[in-house]
Amino acid sequence: MKLSTKTWPALAAAAMLAVGLAACASPSTADDSAAGDSGAKFAVDENTLVFGVVPDSVDTETNYQPLMDYIAAETGKTVEYHESTDYAALIEAAVAGKIDVASFSGFTYVTATNNGAAITPISSIITEEGQEPGYYSQAIVPKGSDITDLAGFAGKKVCFVDPSSTSGYLFPSYNLLNEGIDPKTGVTPVFAGKHDVSVTKTGEGVECEAGFAEDSEVAKSDKVEVIAETMVPGAPIVVSDTLPEELKTQLTEILGEVTVDEIVESGVESADSDAFRSVFFATLPVDDEYYDTIRDICEKTEAEQCQG
């Protein structure tokens, strides 16, 4: 008896919590089984598409809401839009089948598939007419430096961004390895943490005698000069392989090669803004092979994140 008076508040509270949480459950959970008949699976339910985004390069702003409106209008589904700056979170979400459509860096795509995510790249976003998808990882030295090529980086203090950065570490490591320089022991690596810091420190020439950064940040500085650059494959828009075939086809059609003007013409008025036009001009189709460079880099640099 004594025990019961002690435990009932606990039980009651636990029950209340459970009921409360259950009441919050989305009413459409039952639909999951309905969608399961064709073996297809959605991240949430068949009326919702989950769109996840990690900015590809540092100057990417992700005000893609009009793109969501466009997808919603074309497919007739609700689009849930999630942004993250953490690759790991989105990769895990992709591996767990918790996203239907996503836009993340080429490297993230390779890593996610290596880790078992069932996704297919369909296209990559460009921001200006005539552009190729992607951006450049640039090797920089202070203006007037004696270093004229990558081979000259040997034994110097070299600024990288951080060990998980594609254009600020992995591509540079690959390029250094190709010159016969071990990026860990052949140079004194300094992790600047950010692209602009890498540029600044290299420009000052004290903490770093040479460095690597993304082209958009390098262009802002007049204290450094570029001695080499490598194209980083553009960020793919991917679709989940578990979506029903016809929906996948439809998404490929509407997102494969579309310009901002076509989106506006289709009736999505929100797309007709400077903010959206500044981050989106069109998409160009890409396929899995497009990312073979990254796989090659994975192999050569033995980067941890490439391991499946």
Binding site: P9, A13, A25, H82, L90, A96, A275, Q305
Partner: protein
């Protein structure tokens, strides 16, 4: 009954025909109290709406449980960094946190002196002191760290400054409170004897407030140690940064290994700080056997009445309120004039030197680039220009305010969930509520464990189960909040007056009746206070969870920081600042009204 009570109170109205309810003395109902109650109800309602909105769905979580299993299968065995590196990182983390906390403690002394009503030179100074307190508290340390990382870029200085400046808020407030609570006697005596202001402070105030100050600093240091995990995510060196690198490169086994080290570190520091505190606060100087004392300390620290870490700010050399050996008869005048080197004094001196060694070691390990502090000022104008004016960049205001709203929503929902569970867990962890020692100890232990798990890790695991978005963020924050609020609630419930409880028990009330009628009502004010504190903490933390895809403003803040869109950073920081200040204002109002 009515005839018994009424005459004793008002004999003249003994024959009053009104019912007992009408005649019973009533609490005055001020309009302000009603307004505050309504606000409280509105906030709770908003929290419920936010919770419903967050889309937490138990069935789909159960369904996705397999994801978590697959995730953990992929993680594999937990691994650790190499011993030498681990040792260095651990030392660096502790050193950095210590330096930051000490910096805050040093700056807090003058701030508290100005802010305390009994020492302030004037109302203007007092307002200034309070302003510094509120402002430094309002800017989240994560935001400070992000900005300092931009300015200083490399080394430990950004972390030290971020921790230091943010901690001034809490430390100086509690320092000022301690000054306001002193016995004015000694101070007045010194003034009457012609002592200077400085002498008044060092001899009249300092000895009285020192124990409380040390406790405050230790407590804050513990909070800062936990916080350093998150700071690593925005580029502050130490274990946190290594952990974030590990997670970013999907090396979960290493990341979890570092998290485990961090967790152990937090618990070790709680024990150490408990030992330091009991030694400094004069709890155990009565000369008992070492083993006896150790057992007592272990029990004390396990009971959770501890916090903080080993930071006696060199002041440990001064025995705080320890009883002197005055009882012994002086053998000679000469001897009486000198303080004898008794065991207590030797121990205190040793403690002092150890503390000093720890502090010096911290400074050394941090390898502070002192030159940065000088060259930094030359860079300030150029950087400051980039931060001003605030601007949303390419994002429209609706998106930004929406994201801020989502952050607040997540914080509200998480606070509600956490408070509901922590009232339960915290009550069972309170000595006067728990049915027996085992329940209490296990609940206290549970709270320590929960507090040790970094929210960022929790959020990533939850994303696997729940998918991206507010759901993962809310649950991660709610879980972390239980550790914090549960402990605070347990402590507050233990501090309620035992009179009403004893009175009820004497009338034969059951345990739950005692709880419902005596413990809970008395602890209600503290409960409201803790809820606001948790809300405040959660708003800061929700910012961080935005980084890992938990939704809200954090994503935009980090994205803007990484892309060096400093004007956007300023705009977002201002939004967070205003939000935190509003919550702070509400909390102060509530505390005043529900006094």
């Amino acid at each position: 009954m009515s005839t018994l009570v009424a005459p004793s109170r008002r004999p003249a109205e003994a024959s009053d025909a009104r019912s007992i309810a009408e005649r019973a003395p009533k609490r005055g109902r001020s309009p302000e109290r009603i307004a505050a109650s309504l606000t409280l109800v509105a906030i709770v309602a908003a929290a419920i709406v936010a919770l419903a909105d967050s889309g937490i769905s138990i069935p789909s979580m159960v369904e996705s449980w397999g994801n978590a299993e697959r995730f953990f299968a992929r993680v594999g065995p937990i691994s650790f960094p190499e011993p030498a590196q681990l040792l260095y990182l651990t030392a660096l983390t502790i050193g950095l946190v210590l330096c930051g906390t000490l910096l805050a403690a040093v700056i807090s002394v003058p701030v508290a002196y100005l802010a305390a009503s009994n020492t302030t030179p004037g109302p203007g100074w007092r307002a200034f002191g309070r302003f510094v307190t509120v402002l430094t508290r309002a800017i989240p340390d994560v935001v400070l760290a992000m900005v300092f990382v931009l300015m200083f870029s490399l080394g430990s200085l950004p972390g030290i400054l971020a921790i230091g400046i943010h901690s001034i808020g809490m430390i100086s407030k509690l320092f000022a409170d301690a000054i306001e609570q002193i016995d004015e006697g000694p101070r007045l005596a010194i003034r009457a004897a012609g002592g200077s202001k400085w002498q008044e402070f060092t001899s009249g105030i300092l000895p009285q407030v020192l124990p409380s100050w040390v406790a405050t600093v230790l407590h804050r240091n513990d909070i800062n140690l936990r916080g350093s995990v998150v700071l690593g995510y925005v580029g502050v060196v130490g274990l946190g940064m290594e952990m974030s690198f590990a997670f970013k490169s999907l090396n979960y086994s290493l990341g979890l290994g570092i998290a485990l080290v961090m967790f152990a570190l937090c618990i070790v520091m709680e024990v150490v700080s408990s030992v330091v505190r009991s030694a400094m606060l004069g709890v155990a100087p009565t000369g008992r056997g070492l083993g006896d004392r150790l057992v007592r300390r272990v029990r004390r620290s396990r009971s959770g009445s501890s916090s903080g870490l080993d930071t006696p700010p060199s002041s440990a050399a001064r025995p705080a309120g320890t009883p002197s050996s005055a009882a012994r008869p002086a053998t000679s005048l000469e001897a009486a004039l000198r303080r004898p080197w008794d065991a207590l004094r030797i121990r205190n001196t040793v403690w002092g030197w150890v503390a000093l060694a720890v502090v010096v070691g911290s400074v050394l390990i941090c390898n502070i680039q002192w030159a940065d502090l000088i060259t930094f000022w030359a860079k300030v104008p150029a950087i400051a220009v980039q931060f001003w004016p605030p601007d949303f960049g390419n994002y429209d205001a609706a998106t930004m305010f929406g994201a801020m709203g989502q952050t607040i929503g997540i914080a509200l929902a998480a606070t509600l969930l956490a408070i509901v569970v922590s009232v339960l867990v915290g009550s069972l962890a309170a000595r006067n509520v728990a049915p027996n020692g085992t329940v209490r100890a296990s609940m206290r232990f549970l709270l320590v464990v929960i507090r040790g798990i970094p929210e960022v890790i929790l959020a990533i695991v939850l994303i696997v189960i729940t998918g991206l978005g507010a759901q993962a963020g809310t649950l991660a924050l709610a879980f972390g909040g239980i550790g914090l609020a549960g402990k605070l609630i347990a402590d507050s419930f233990e501090e309620v007056k035992s009179g009403p409880e004893r009175a009820l028990r004497a009338t034969g009330a059951s345990r739950s009746q005692v709880y419902a009628s005596a413990t809970l009502p008395q602890g209600m004010r503290a409960l409201i206070g803790h809820s606001f504190y948790l809300l405040d903490t959660n708003i800061r933390a929700a910012t961080i969870l935005g980084i890992v895809g938990g939704g809200g403003i954090g994503y935009y803040l980090l994205n803007a920081g990484q892309g060096s869109n400093y004007q956007v950073v300023t705009a977002i920081v201002l939004m967070i600042l205003v939000t935190v200040l509003v919550v702070e204002g509400l909390a102060m109002w509530m505390r005043r009204v529900f006094r």
